[in-house]
């Protein structure tokens, strides 16, 4: 299929371009990107925000903040019994620590939910402002047209 591709005379095009460049009068005043410092005392603008990812991980946090200190013991018989006894012995040691961790997780989850609500609220405000700006811009354009038309009419009358 690639054999059917028509050849384009790139040399002819480049000659035309070089001629255009001579005629255009370009001034080589452009700043070099390499010469710029990657930080001019300004910190990063901030990482690229992806709300979909944010929402998904928020949902994972909300589902998983509470971590029990043990996993279910599926085995039966002597092995299972011994594991359950060990679990009971360790309960007083590990349960308070896990509960403290779960409380901490819950607080973090609450903060993230609050942040989510704030984001959604800001999104609504932003959309309202955007709509208002578009309406005002349109009104400005229409009024400018009217003004120009009126000005032309006035000039014609004066002539």
């Amino acid at each position: 299929m690639s054999d059917q591709i028509q050849s384009i005379d790139i040399n002819e095009i480049m000659n035309e371009i070089r001629e255009n460049i001579k005629k255009r009068g370009y001034i080589d005043d452009i700043l070099s990107f390499e010469d710029m410092s990657s930080s001019n005392g300004i910190d990063y603008i901030g990482t690229d925000f992806n709300y979909t990812e944010f929402a998904i991980y928020l949902s994972i946090i909300n589902d998983g903040w509470n971590i029990p200190y043990y996993r279910d013991i599926p085995q039966r018989g002597l092995k299972g019994f011994i594991k359950k006894v060990i679990r009971k012995i360790l309960f007083s040691q590990f349960n308070p620590i896990m509960e403290e961790q779960s409380r901490y997780n819950a607080n973090l989850a609450n903060i993230m939910n609050q942040l989510n609500n704030y984001l959604l609220k800001q999104q609504i405000e932003l959309e309202k402002s955007s709509k208002r700006i578009t309406e005002l811009e349109k009104r400005m354009i229409d009024e400018k047209k009217e003004f120009t038309s009126a000005d032309m009419e006035l000039n014609n009358k004066e002539d």
Binding site: Y44, G46, D48, I56, I60
Partner: protein
């Protein structure tokens, strides 16, 4: 006999991940038991589309593992130890020097990635490379096994979805819209696109816009420098979209008049094929795999000169004959990436490999 796929991360909307998911369907249609095993997967992907690598069963010598190689990871070394038939799909590792001064982490991952590729040179039986450029890179790194070129499988049906018409309507006017889609990354040289746009807007057509469509996550230093560059040039109408929804990406493709690529390193460059699909004339600097992907279509610039790029944009926009020719060539080239064609190629390659390495 089972055919598994292995990759470090199954991401959402990522070219390599999409490729793996599409190949899985092809492998399954050939009647083989197959699964994608990965260490990390995006939670947006269906739960049954992947399995944790920790749950991968022991492999038998008759099994085949297809490994997608694109970055530095411990998996590059683990893969070599599997006692089965091994195929590597090479998507290319970006040379680490591009990230100097911008991201130590990316630099490190790329160094490790290249070491990993070299490590596997005598441990795989067969390679698939996204482009002839990738194939040559493997040969240079000491690969002696058979290497076939298989372009990335692209889900074209996704591009027929509804674009965000709010964006289309907002920017559909007498302005010339120039776009480049791709992550904000130093190897993609967005600064050269900006320089070219500067000359085009200042000296040729003030009624023009530049949209740089892509996320800058992980490349914040480079992104900041690009923003400062635009400010120093006092250049208007340059838009960095950052990470946006798919419908928004479609919108930018819909309103684009020219696709400008000044990248200095690509293993395939899916956005070039996307631009072909959306019938946007492409101007691209001839580097690495760009020429392979364009395949004599589009306009290839042999010189990295922003003024030449600016004049070329002008020619493409104003010369109807040239633009028509370029678009016709791109439509012909696009057929070489058809989903059915590439899928069949893959099936043929895999069948041949299994037969010859039984």
């Amino acid at each position: 006999m089972r055919v598994f796929q292995l990759l470090i991360t199954l991401a959402f909307g990522d070219a390599v991940s999409n490729d793996a998911l599409a190949l899985e369907k092809a492998i399954s249609s050939m009647g083989y038991k197959t699964k994608i095993y990965t260490l990390n997967a995006d939670p947006r992907l269906p739960a049954d589309s992947w399995v944790s690598l920790k749950k991968m069963p022991s492999v038998k010598s008759s099994d085949v593992i297809i490994y997608h190689m694109a970055i530095g990871t411990e998996l590059n070394y683990t893969f070599g130890n599997y006692n089965c038939r091994k195929i590597m799909v090479y998507h290319n590792v970006t040379p680490p020097e591009f990230f100097l001064g911008y991201s130590k982490e990316s630099e490190k991952l790329c160094i490790e990635g290249l070491e990993g590729v070299k490590h596997l040179s005598d441990k795989v039986s067969y390679c698939l490379a996204d482009s002839s450029f990738n194939k040559e890179q493997l040969i240079l790194m000491g690969y002696k096994c058979r290497i076939d070129v298989l372009p990335i499988l692209i889900p074209f049906s996704d591009y027929d979805k509804q674009p965000n018409y709010e964006i289309v309507n907002k920017y559909s006017d007498e302005y010339t819209n120039i776009i480049f889609t791709g992550r904000i990354a130093p190897n993609k040289k967005q600064e050269d696109i900006i320089s070219s746009f500067y000359y085009y807007k200042k000296y040729i057509n003030p009624k023009s816009r530049l949209f740089l469509v892509g996320s800058y996550k992980g490349m914040e230093k480079y992104y900041t420098k690009l923003r400062m560059f635009v400010d120093e040039l006092e250049l208007q109408d340059v838009y960095f979209t950052g990470h946006i929804k798919f419908a928004d990406i479609l919108a930018y493709y819909k309103l684009a008049d020219v696709f400008l690529c000044m990248s200095e390193h690509e293993g395939f460059c899916v956005p070039l094929v996307e631009a072909m699909y959306f019938d946007i004339p492409i101007i691209a600097y001839h580097s690495t795999a760009i020429g392979d992907t364009l395949g004599n279509s589009g306009i290839l610039l042999e010189e990295k000169d922003s003024k030449i790029a600016a004049e070329m944009i002008n020619l493409i926009v104003t010369n109807n004959n040239l633009r028509t020719k370029v678009l016709e060539n791109q439509r012909i080239r696009l057929k070489d990436f058809s989903h059915d064609l590439i899928t069949q190629k893959f099936k043929d390659y895999l069948s041949t490999f299994i037969e010859e390495n039984g």
